[in-house]
């Protein structure tokens, strides 16, 4: 990891530190996690509440951003999960805005990316997984298990398929959470590594800086797409709970 005496520590940016000194991180300590989550909530609130405060019939720029986000997620819930999923729309909107702003704020230099932590994404994914499974059983009872029993397949294949379906069902929260955390972590770590190269290369420092610039643009795209993907997968899982028939 050391080159010309310069040590690149790509993972340091993910350390959880208490805000007001000390080493102890107990469950209530205000840490950089607290700070950046608060900023995420503030940013989302600013966009959705402050932007649309005018309630104008002909929207201002900020208001139409808020309205477009609203309509975009609303349409996604309606299209992917069905009309009766609209009652879960506020929660899905919350998840989308939280992930989106956590990702975007994490791209600010020296920022802390809350969504790069598996603890955070795992809680988000497990919340979706547990509530969707519970909802499936509440709405459909044992019929929900038909999700795993592929009626259209030939009978001998069905137990095998059921096993695969069950495994893929339980892998869902894992991939759901690790995708987001992994994508965030990977982008930030790679950016940090390239930035370290810039310090190590001396005269050719501009090459890694160009690379970091390009990477930053890609990361902006990834930040938005990961938020979108996280939300749309939530909708897909929700659809399975509401309409378990294949």
């Amino acid at each position: 990891m050391a080159e010309n005496g310069i040590v690149i520590k790509p993972m340091d940016q993910f350390i959880v530190k208490p805000l007001f000194g000390g080493d102890m991180v107990s469950w209530y300590t205000p840490t950089n996690v607290t700070l950046w989550m608060a900023l995420t909530v503030l940013a989302a609130t600013a966009m959705m509440v402050y932007g649309s405060r005018g309630r104008a019939v002909v929207p201002t720029r900020a208001q139409s951003v808020a309205e477009l986000t609203y309509s975009f997620i609303y349409k996604m819930v309606e299209d992917v999960a069905g009309r009766d999923a609209v009652r879960f729309f506020p929660y899905i909107m919350t998840v989308f805005l939280f992930v989106l702003f956590a990702n975007l704020l994490g791209l600010i230099p020296f920022a802390f990316t809350t969504t790069s932590h598996i603890a955070v994404t795992a809680v988000l994914a497990l919340t979706v997984f547990i509530s969707v499974t519970a909802l499936g059983f509440i709405l459909h009872g044992t019929k929900f298990l038909k999700l795993f029993w592929v009626d259209s397949a030939p009978l001998p294949l069905r137990p095998v398929l059921a096993l695969i379906e069950v495994i893929s069902y339980f892998v869902r929260p894992v991939s759901h959470s690790i995708r987001l955390a992994g994508a965030m972590m990977a982008g930030h770590a790679v950016a940090k590594v390239f930035a370290g190269f810039a310090a190590a290369l001396g005269a050719a420092f501009f090459l890694p800086i160009l690379a970091v610039t390009a990477l930053y643009a890609l990361e902006l795209l990834v930040a938005v797409i990961q938020a979108y993907v996280f939300t749309i997968l939530t909708c897909v899982y929700l659809k399975d709970a509401l309409h378990p028939a294949h």
């Binding site: 506020p90 919350t94 809350t114």
Partner: protein, 174 residues
Amino acid sequence: MADPAQDAVGMPQLDFTTFPNQIFWLIVAMIALYLILSRVALPQISAVLADRRGAITNDIAAAEEAKQKAAAAEEAYHKALANARAEAGRIVDQARAEIQQELDVQMAKAEAEIAARSAESEKRIREIRESAMDMVAEVAKDTTREVLGVFDVKADARTVNAAVTARLKQGGTA
């Protein structure tokens, strides 16, 4: 890896001592954001969207109504035009019929007058002719008497008259 508190030992993501802290603050943040969104932001935006949809629907309805009104007005105009045309035609017909009637009356009157006059004329012609015939008979009687007087034939007036009258009747009017 000099300062364990500042350096990442392995992956910070797998430092389980920070998990309760992150999960706690995540839950706090999510609940806060959920409440803000579901209580304030989303109803506000959906109200605005509904308002706009309502306004657009109203405008479309108003436009539709105006269009219908215009169509109705056009129809009324056409109807009035057709009525006026029919009225005009009727008046023309009536006038024509009146004139015809008048004309007929006048014609009949004229014809009657003409007939009366021609009848009178004929009557007078007949009278004239008859008086002429009488005068011819008178002249013939007088002439006959004179002629008889010249020839010294004594004849009474009655005989002469009868003879002339018979002769006239026999010879006709020619």
